[in-house]
Amino acid sequence: MTSLQLEQTPQQISQPKPSLLKRIWRFIKKNPAGVAGMILVLLSISAALFSQWIAPFDPSKASLTSRLAPPSWADDTGESVFFLGADQVGRDLFSRIIYGAKISLMVGFFGVLISLVIGTILGLVAGYFGKWLDDFIMRVADIQLAFPFILFAIVIMSVLGTGIWKIIIILGLTYWVGFARLIRGEVISLKEQEYIHAAKAIGGTTFTIIRKHILPNVMSSILVLGTMYIAEFILLEASLTFLGLGVDPTIPSWGGMLADSRNYVTTAWWTATFPGIAIMLTVLGFNLLGDWLRDKFDPNMKL
């Protein structure tokens, strides 16, 4: 046997690692948009996670005496009051916005989770098995697309009732199409990859191939689309409220706050402005993050 000397991979030549701070700075300089997105998303996630501790007031504590109190740092007695003002039933707007992060993110995350699971499974099946299954699933997707979202929402709500979870379900059941199409497309091209043939050649069952080889390789696209859909869902929740199909008004959802206070824009600007800013920043954050992820994983991804 000829001697097989160990080949050097570039990684083996070690170089002194720059300091952590320096690496972080470098990262920020290289991905300003991604970092901005991450910060915004982290902010809203922490607001959602730690709302109890951040919010100065009970977000559902209504009091007509403080209705539409304008933002101020302190009242006459020097006691701190509503720092972003109070809403139409006298609740502290700041606390509601903090708690609202929870609701908005919940709608985003769980809505995406549902659509992701359904869409990924159907997309995998359609893409991998092709033929009539593919045709069938894609036709169902066509039908779903042609079905007006609002009517769909009303139908679901009259069958299942209303509430935040129903909205999540509605979004999930509507947006699976996006995932399914994306995954299907990816799987179709992935299927022709040599390592998939290889997986078959080494005796892999269909299930193993999908689980071990296909799924992990579509994960990045799923992640990217998921992030973008979170942003979209947060906005859709607001639109549903605008159309009268939103959540119960005691629930502090940004969309609800924004939609229900749109007529106060000129008289009590803070009621709509601050939830609006919260939505904008969070949505922007998720979009930037998604953009960055896509750029990182696959800059040519058609999203």
Partner: protein, 504 residues
């Protein structure tokens, strides 16, 4: 009433106080929120219809802006007997298309309303007490009734009984008539762009001397309130219907605008599903009525644009009992009653409200806040408003409490009370009281106002005690009007009257 607290101060654009409307001439533009889609009076029951069509069509009987009955196309009427009503018709009136108004037209109108065509629409059922219309001479008709109807005259002032031109309808057909209505009113419709605008022009041959004063009225359909207000602020419209409470302040602060308010027959209540625990108990229902500070709600959330009510009707309604005071705000009493009824602290109840009424959401939350104070936890559910009225309420799926608003278009408690309290009616999923039903039937059998008044007094007292709903308020409509418009009087029940309106 009126004038909310001036708390919601603003720094919004007080910018140009100059009236943006400069050269519109002798015409006005009105921003309304909805398009009735169909101008045929027998096919509609929408307030949006009446806002416009009141200027186009007229009935035998008319109602003044203050809701008094007065002669319309009929100069006078009398009961020949209990079941025959004779009308003397006005002479020299013509329809917008030149067709003469006469007994034939009246007969045609009612035959149509009561015939096959009318039966497809929602108006028919209001007029089933009319057996037939007989022509006596060219300007006299007899209306034969099959049963005495105490509110018939009021109904004849209603939408379905306006007189339509027989030849025109016969020749052009119903579909054409739907889109090109012709009546005898002060204005004629010259253009209709669905969901966009309606143009009315002066009817030069109008039978009231010197009226109308305007040459032209344009209605623009603008569903979104904030857009409507923007149009008003920029002078694109002169009158804005349906100003939201939250917008009132802005209007007041704009120099060239004027805010006008008017009480309406529409009452808003949270109705209880009395079949559901704990609202099967009268004490509990009363307790809820005590627990909520309706005055505070009216003053704070509605900015004063609402009137307290004691039963499910407004002060405009025949049958309203002015002696009854709304349940006072008395949380202690409420707690006591609840305790007596054995309702545990923290009992949760479901409240259903329509999701598209921002203002009412605030009210619901205030109610929930008050009820929480007495130990009842309210889960507010929002539903698509149509689902709520057409599905959830009729099928008793609307939780323990649900919002209902009712206008009683006849301005007579009969309409409301019968539909709300008579067993088996569409919007009465669970309430049943024999005494109430007895009284309801009794008042229906009579045409004597005094007698009916007495019955209603008894009925209202009974209902007050039974408390089948938490009566909140009767609505006050707010209109915003450009100051160039003169003599505009906001209508109680959406039926805008514009004959006397002029511009500066």
């Amino acid at each position: 009433s009126g004038g909310g607290k001036e708390k919601a101060s603003t720094d919004s654009s007080k910018g140009s106080e100059e009236n943006p409307v400069k050269d519109r001439g002798n015409e006005i533009v009105i921003g309304v929120s909805g398009d009735p889609q169909n101008w045929d009076p027998i096919d509609t029951f929408l307030l949006d219809w009446s806002t416009v069509a009141t200027s186009v069509f007229e009935g035998l009987v008319d109602r003044t802006i203050d809701l008094e009955l007065q002669p319309g196309l009929a100069e006078s009427w009398e009961y020949l007997d209990d079941k025959t009503l004779q009308f003397k018709l006005r002479q020299g009136v013509t329809f917008h298309n030149g067709e003469p108004f006469n007994a034939e037209a009246v007969k045609f109108t009612f035959d149509r309303l009561l015939g096959a065509e009318g039966q497809k629409g929602p108006q028919y059922s209001n007029y089933t007490s009319i057996e037939s219309v007989e022509v006596v001479d060219e300007f006299t008709i007899n209306m034969k009734l099959n049963t005495p109807d105490p509110v018939l005259l009021t109904k004849l002032a209603g939408y379905g009984a306006v007189i339509v031109p027989p030849k025109y309808v016969a020749e052009k057909g119903d579909e054409h008539f739907n889109n090109n209505p012709v009546g005898t009113g002060p204005f004629k419709m010259t253009s209709y762009k669905r969901d966009q605008e309606i143009v009315l022009e002066k009817n030069p041959d109008y039978w009231k001397e010197g009226l109308p004063k305007l040459d032209k009225v344009v209605y623009k359909i603008i569903p979104e309130a904030s857009t409507r207000l923007a149009e008003l602020q920029t002078g694109k419209i002169d009158i804005m219907k349906r100003v939201e409470v939250s917008q009132a302040e802005t209007v007041k602060e704009t120099g060239f605008l004027e805010l006008q308010e008017v009480g309406t027959p529409t009452a808003f209540s949270l109705r209880f599903d009395v079949a559901k625990k704990p609202f099967d108990s009268k004490e509990v229902r009363q307790a809820i009525n005590y627990a909520v500070d309706k005055e505070a709600i009216i003053n704070e959330i509605l900015g004063g644009y609402g009137k307290p009510i004691s039963t499910f009707q407004s002060e405009l309604s025949f049958g309203n009992n002015p002696d009854l005071e709304p349940y006072p705000y008395d949380p202690e009493k409420a707690k006591e009653l609840l305790k007596k009824a054995g309702v545990k602290e923290g009992t949760a109840v479901d409240l259903f409200i329509p999701g598209n009424d921002g203002n009412f959401k605030e009210i619901a939350q205030a109610v929930s806040f008050y009820l929480e104070e007495v130990g009842i936890k309210v889960n507010i559910n929002t539903a698509d408003s149509t689902t709520l009225t057409s599905d959830l309420i009729p099928n008793a799926k609307a939780g323990h409490m649900y919002r209902q608003g009712w206008g009683g278009w006849t301005l007579d408690f009969d309409n409301t009370a019968y539909l709300m309290y008579y067993e088996g009616e569409q919007w009465n999923p669970s309430f049943k009281n024999e005494k109430v039903e007895e009284l309801l039937e009794k008042q229906r059998a009579s045409v004597d106002p005094e007698e009916r008044k007495a019955i209603f007094k008894e009925l209202t007292e009974l209902l007050y005690d039974l408390a089948p709903e938490l009566n909140l308020y009767s609505a006050v409509d707010i209109y915003a009007v450009n100051k160039r418009v003169q003599n505009f009087q906001p209508p109680h029940e959406d039926r805008m009257r514009l004959e006397e309106v002029t511009v500066k």
